[in-house]
């Protein structure tokens, strides 16, 4: 299984990459780590005219601090995200979820930005980015724009990225105060995609839950927030009973699909169980 031929560009800067994308013709694909794109090209589900390879654009790699935000370069590999000290300190939820992505070999190549731009609803990182209110910095021919996570994920495998644009970095607000975090993922076998997963960040204050942010993986064509559960948890007592009660509304507003792994109603059940577990762990119970 060999991909169809394509024209190949190997830029070394973001500006060169944008130029290569603009000149690439009708169907341009951007190659980050390639762990989703190359399999799709081998199966010839995609046969782009031009592939723009970001391997050598070093400015897109790495994690840095910028005031109240962590800034994660789009080409930072999953393996680098997992071992990054800033992420461990300010957004351990990202590291915890990233560690569950695929397998070691894939995590060595796959990238944070690539996984988000691919926007697979069963992918682990979109729900985490949504739960953490991340912002997406997108470069285009006319400069840069910033899109909040809530607007970035538009539909199945579809994001706010327009033709000719490039995701360059993801800004994640540092969480201050007593936050706990947990990613609860349910799948059947090694290296499988999430059947359902829940990303929870919970801030505790004086024995209560002051605020909860909950992102849901694979509960619809895009990642979703469990808004009803978040509302029920705001100001609630940090007790197993209160959390279990709030988690009952986790499936509200979701539209999970049925596939060979699970029926929709099973996913609606599973999301309640995983939300209870994730919030309980994040709240330190």
């Amino acid at each position: 299984m060999i991909p169809a031929p394509f024209a190949y560009a190997r830029p070394t800067t973001v500006d060169e990459a944008l130029q290569a994308i603009a000149e690439g013709g009708e169907d341009v694909k951007i190659l980050a780590g390639g762990q989703s794109l190359i399999p799709v090209m081998r199966l010839r589900l995609a046969a782009p005219e031009t592939v723009v390879d970001l391997s050598k654009v070093s400015e897109l790699r790495g994690v840095r601090e910028d005031g109240d935000s962590l800034v994660i370069g789009a080409m930072t590999t999953h393996a680098d995200v997992v071992r990054d000290p800033l992420i461990q300190q300010y957004a351990p939820l990202i590291a915890e979820a990233t560690e569950t992505v695929a397998d070691r070999q894939v995590r060595h190549r796959g990238t944070f930005g690539g996984a988000l731009a691919h926007a697979d609803p069963a992918g682990d990182l979109p729900a985490v980015a949504l739960a953490l209110d991340a912002e997406f910095v997108i470069a285009g021919q006319n400069g840069r724009r910033t899109v909040p996570a809530a607007d970035f994920f538009v539909d199945y495998l579809t994001t706010a990225l327009e033709e000719g644009e490039l995701l360059v970095e993801i800004r994640v607000p540092k969480l201050t105060g007593q936050w706990g975090m947990r990613y609860e993922k349910f799948n059947r076998v090694a290296q499988a995609w999430s059947i359902v997963a829940v990303a929870a960040a919970v801030r505790r204050e004086d024995g209560h839950i002051a605020e909860a942010r909950i992102g849901l993986t694979n509960m619809g064509p895009t990642p979703l927030r469990a808004r009803a559960t978040e509302a029920a948890l705001a100001g609630a007592a940090a007790t197993p009973e209160a959390i279990a009660e709030a988690a009952r509304s986790a499936a509200e507003g979701t539209s999970p699909s049925s596939d060979l792994n699970a029926q929709a109603d099973y996913r609606e059940h599973l999301v309640q169980v995983l939300t209870r577990r994730a919030v309980s762990a994040a709240a330190g119970l």
């Binding site: 299984m1 060999i2 394509f6 190997r10 399999p39 390879d53 070999q105």
Partner: protein, 171 residues
């Protein structure tokens, strides 16, 4: 065609390749490094695992052009990279001694994945080994002895070899 410069198992190569050439095909067909095999061709089985700049990757899911400027180590390069020419790498030796293979097709990838795991975690628990090589499938389902082989190699590489008897190899 795009020109690439790579070091593979300690030798430098410069070649013009079609951009769509997968690294595994470049290794096997251009360089004759047929020790690295193609298993599933869908990124699942890990039989094609090699090290790219010291990290395990599935060479069926990397374009050869992406390896430009990189150092590649295949199963054919691990024994001499150990410093003693011709001697098996401790992980190869452990797979041999613990009978960590049945048909042998997954073995090159299993060994490359295990070397990568032990570099990061020199004394993994049994669970950590199973999770660490989750990207590699053995369709003979010979996992018990594969895990024992990794345990033995870990012991030998850290200077406290566990005997085949205590680990209970099943030949």
């Amino acid at each position: 065609m795009t020109s690439i410069n790579v070091r593979v198992d300690g030798m430098s190569y410069s070649d013009d390749v079609e951009p769509r050439t997968l690294l595994v095909h470049y290794l096997r067909e251009t360089l004759g490094k047929v020790g690295t095999v193609v298993g599933c061709d869908t990124s699942n089985c890990g039989a094609c695992t090699v090290h790219l700049d010291g990290e395990s990757v599935k060479s069926c899911t990397v374009f050869a052009v992406q390896a430009d400027g990189c150092e590649v180590t295949t199963i054919e390069g691990v024994s001499s990279s150990d410093g003693t020419d011709g001697a098996l790498h401790p992980v190869q030796k452990a797979f041999h001694e613990m009978h960590g293979l049945q048909c042998g097709f997954c073995t090159p990838g299993m060994i490359m994945a295990s070397i990568d795991l032990l570099k990061e975690n020199p004394s993994p628990s049994e669970t950590e080994i199973r999770e660490g090589i989750e990207g590699n499938l053995c369709r003979c389902t010979g996992y018990q002895n594969i895990v024992r082989a990794v345990q033995q190699a870990a012991g030998e590489m850290s200077g406290s070899p566990a005997g085949a008897d205590t680990l209970g190899a099943q030949a």
